[in-house]
C-alpha cells in the first residue's frame, strides 16, 4: 500500500499554524514595547527555529551520504536544503518587515540578519552545484561536502559579524513572556515543524524516485557519425 503520511502531517501543521496565528493576532496581548508589530514573532520565530533545524537535517544527511554513499541520504540532502532555503528566504523577508517599524530600516548589519543572508548564498550554491553535475555519485559526494562546509561555517560567520556589529535584541525566554503569548508561539513552532516535515518528506520521495531512475537508466549510445549525403547527380 502506498503510504503518504507526510500529507497528513503537513495538513496538521497547516491547521496548527492557522490556529496559532489566529490566537497570536486576536487573543494574545500586544507586545509590551513594540505593540501590535510584535505579533509577527508568531511567524518569524518558528520560521527561524525550523529553518535552522532543516539545515541541521541537511548536514546530518550530507554526513550520512558521504559516509555510506546511499541514495536515500543524497535525496534527503536535496530535499532538506530546498526546504531550508525556502524557510531562510521567508525568514529574511519577515525580518526585514519587522525591522522597518522597530529599527527604522529594512536592513541592518546585525549578526543574525547577516548570517541568514550568507546562509541563503551558501546553501543556494549546494543546489546550483547539484544541477551542474550529471554523474550521480560525483553529485552525491560534492554536494554533501558543500553542505557540510556551509553548515560548519554558520557559527563562525555569526561570531565574526557579532564582533563586527550587533543590534539584534537578546533572546526571550518563557519566563519573561506572558503565558497567553507562549502557547500560540509553541503551537506555531510545532505547526511549522510538521509542515516542514511534510514538505521535506514529500520532496525526499520525489528526489529518491528521480535518483533511482537516473542510476538505473542505461548510458546513452554513442552518437552515430553524421550521415554522408551524396550530391544528387
Amino acid at each position: 500500500m502506498k503510504s503518504n503520511w507526510e500529507i497528513g502531517v503537513g495538513i496538521l501543521g497547516l491547521v496548527m499554524l492557522i490556529w496559532a496565528h489566529y490566537t497570536g493576532l486576536f487573543v494574545a496581548p500586544p507586545e509590551a514595547m513594540m505593540g501590535d508589530v510584535g505579533r509577527i514573532l508568531y511567524a518569524h520565530v518558528p520560521t527561524a527555529w525550523i529553518g535552522l533545524l532543516t539545515y541541521l537535517v541537511s548536514f546530518i544527511a550530507a554526513v550520512g551520504a558521504i559516509w555510506t554513499g546511499k541514495w536515500a541520504w543524497d535525496a534527503m540532502v536535496e530535499a532538506s536544503v530546498e526546504v531550508g532555503l525556502l524557510l531562510n528566504v521567508l525568514l529574511l523577508i519577515q525580518g526585514s518587515l519587522w525591522a522597518k517599524p522597530t529599527w527604522g530600516v529594512y536592513w541592518t548589519w546585525d549578526p543574525r540578519l547577516t548570517t541568514c543572508a550568507i546562509m541563503v548564498v551558501a546553501f543556494g550554491v549546494v543546489l546550483t552545484l547539484r544541477r551542474q553535475i550529471e554523474d550521480p555519485m560525483r553529485r552525491l559526494t560534492l554536494s554533501s561536502i558543500a553542505t557540510i562546509i556551509a553548515f560548519v561555517n554558520v557559527p563562525i560567520v555569526y561570531l565574526s559579524v557579532k564582533w563586527w556589529r550587533t543590534l539584534h535584541q537578546p533572546y526571550s525566554s518563557p519566563d519573561t513572556v506572558d503565558g497567553t503569548m507562549v502557547t500560540p508561539l509553541r503551537v506555531a513552532a510545532f505547526g511549522m515543524l510538521f509542515l516542514a516535515t511534510g514538505f521535506v518528506v514529500r520532496r525526499w520521495r520525489q528526489v529518491s524516485k528521480k535518483l533511482a531512475i537516473e542510476v538505473q537508466a542505461p548510458d546513452l549510445p554513442e552518437a552515430s557519425p553524421p550521415l554522408q549525403v551524396e550530391d544528387a547527380e
Binding site: 550568507i118 559526494t141 560534492l142 562546509i149 556551509a150 563562525i156 561570531l159 565574526s160 564582533w163 563586527w164
Partner: protein, 222 residues
Amino acid sequence: MKATLRILQKDLLIEWRARSRTVALLSFAYTILLLFAFAIGPDAAALRQHAGAYLWLGLLLSSTLLLDRTMRIEFEAGAMSKLMLVPVPATGLFYGKALANLFQLCVVGAFSIPLVFVVCDAELVESIGWLLATLFLGAAGLAAPGTLYSAMIARLSGKQLLLPLMLFPLVVPVMVAAVKATSLAMLGDPMNQIESWLTLLVCFNLVYWSLCGVLFGRVVEA
C-alpha cells in the same frame, strides 16, 4: 609530509616557469586597487580610512584567478590520474597545493601592500608585524577552502562563476577579521583589538585546514 613538500615544490616550479601568469595576476591586483581609488574619488581621508578593505578585496578577487588554475593544471593531459597512480596521498596533494596557493597569495599581498600605502596615502601606526601576521593568516584562510573548492569544480561547466559563488560566502569571517585587523594596524589600535581578530583568523584556519584536508580525499575520488 614528503608528498606535501614535493607537490609544493612542483607547483611553485610550474608557477616560476610560467612567470608571465604571475605578472598578470599582480597586474590584476594593481588594477583593482586603482579602480577602488577611482570609485571613491580623490577624498584622501576616505581612501586612508578604507585602505585595509581595498587591500583585502583586491586580494580576494585575485585569489579566484589563482585558485581557478591551481587544479586546472592537474586535469590537463590527465596529470591528476598519474599523480594518483604514483601514488600521492590525497592529504599530501591538498596540503602541498594549499601551501603553494598560500605562498602565492602572500606574494600578491606583499606586492599590494606598498601600492595601498602609495595609492591610499595610508600610514602604519602599529607594528609591521601585525600587518604581516594578518596577511599570512588571511591568505591562509582563503587558500584552504579555495583549494578544496577549485578541486570540486575543476571539471564542471560554469566553474568561473561557481568558484566565487562558493568561496565568497564562506570566507566572510576571513574578510571581516582581516579587514578589521589591517585597518587597526594602519589607523591605530588603542583598545588592543588586533589580537582578538587574529585569534578569529587562527580559529577559522584551524577548522578549515583540518576539515578541507579530511574532505579532499573524497573530492579526488569523485
